[in-house]
Amino acid sequence: MPDVPKNVAATASALSIPVARSEKADIEHDLVRRAQSGEEAAFEELIRRHQQRVFGLVNGILRRRDDVEDVVQQVFLKVFVSLKRFDQRSAFSTWLYKISVNECWDYLRKRKVRPLTYEADLSEDQVSRLDGVASADKPPEDPSQRAEARDLLERMLERLPEEDQQLLMLKEVEGFSVQELAEMLNLNVNTVKVRLFRSRARLTEVYKRKLESNTSQPNTREKRG
């Protein structure tokens, strides 16, 4: 829409009014409409299109791999049941992500669990290995090394407030945009940016402190043999 001034388009976008719909959005709009009229194949296609992002979202919040699939299935069941009430004024993905976030909170509340936490602190040996990975030009290619590195990173993340961990995982790892995070978490875009900036600075701070405490106590290093 070339005639729409930038600020009008931005306001319309903020109000979830479709200004210019892409072809992809048109297809999705049609799929939603068909699913609303009871066409199961259309709903299955919607699942297929969004399953990876919903998995990423739920995994980013819960980080309990065993339960992620169950929660995602529950999300799609809820979406299916309430689909007729969805008026398509906002994007289907926005609505879907909000339901996903609520389902994660519900899950955590009902099960009275917190997202995955590591009780043990990082050993000096583990900090050294993490340092090796962080200093390298590329992340390790070996799957077991990668898995260990991810495990170590998650332990570092544990040092941050829970909401900051979730924001970092969703934005920097799972690839959700700042706008998407703001919408699904009911936060201001600027707030999301500030929190992400602070979380990233804190993560490095935690890591550097670990390294410093590691190098300042050389005699306590784990003995290998």
């Binding site: 199961e40 709903f43 299955e44 296609e45 699942i47 297929r48 399953q51 990876q52 998995f55 990423g56 995994n59 980013g60 992620v68 699939e69 995602v72 299935q73 799609f76 069941l77 299916f80 917190r114 936490t117 993490l130 990975v133 962080a134 200093s135 992340p139 990668r146 590195a149 991810r150 990173l153 998650e154 570092m156 544990e158 040092r159 941050l160 407030p161 829970e162 970092l168 995982m169 920097e172 790892v173 799972e174 690839g175 700042v178 600027n190 940016k193 500030v194 992400l196 900036f197 602070r198 990233r200 600075a201 804190r202 993560l203 490095t204 701070e205 935690v206 890591y207 550097k208 402190r209």
Partner: protein, 167 residues
């Protein structure tokens, strides 16, 4: 989770943090980049926070996004939804005879109550002084069904007259 009380904020100028994040993300116009970079040159606090936030990318790249659950997932989820719908329908059908019986009972009770009330009201009539008398009272007190007492005194005296003082 143990929080580190030493690192509550990034240490950067609070009004600048969102812009510094945009600078890291690369979501900035050329003129904004120039302005932010100029600030970074003159503000050691922002420069230090910016450096830390930028370095975190080396740590965060270790984590990989959650993989796609595969083509079978949508199909499996659809089957799960169908099963859930069937379970719900079955649950409803188990209770439906009881529910309909309860409704029938409630409806019958309602009709019966309405009938009793209608019958009761229609059979009552008003006396001259405005008091209600039932038909059974009427027949027991007066042998002559056509006789209607006109006032309270007549009503009290009439049984005594019929006995003529005898028991």
């Amino acid at each position: 989770m143990t929080l580190d009380p030493m690192i509550e904020t990034s240490g950067a100028c609070p009004d600048f943090e969102a812009r510094l994040y945009d600078r890291i993300s690369g979501e900035m116009s050329a003129s904004d980049i120039t302005a932010v970079d100029a600030h970074l040159k003159n503000c050691p606090a922002c420069a230090a926070a910016f450096e830390r936030a930028t370095f975190s990318a080396r740590l965060l790249r270790i984590a990989e996004p959650t993989p796609d659950p595969g083509p079978g997932f949508a199909h499996l989820t659809m089957a799960h939804i169908r099963q859930a719908q069937r379970d719900l329908a079955e649950e409803r059908s188990i209770w439906s005879p009881f529910v309909s019986l309860a409704w029938k009972f409630a409806a019958t009770a309602g009709v019966a109550l309405a009938l009793v009330l209608t019958f009761d009201i229609s059979q009552h009539r008003t006396t001259v002084d405005g008091t209600y008398l039932s038909p059974s009272d009427d027949a027991g007190l007066f042998s002559d069904v056509n006789y209607k007492s006109s006032d309270r005194d007549d009503f009290l005296v009439s049984p005594a007259d019929e006995n003529h003082g005898k028991r």
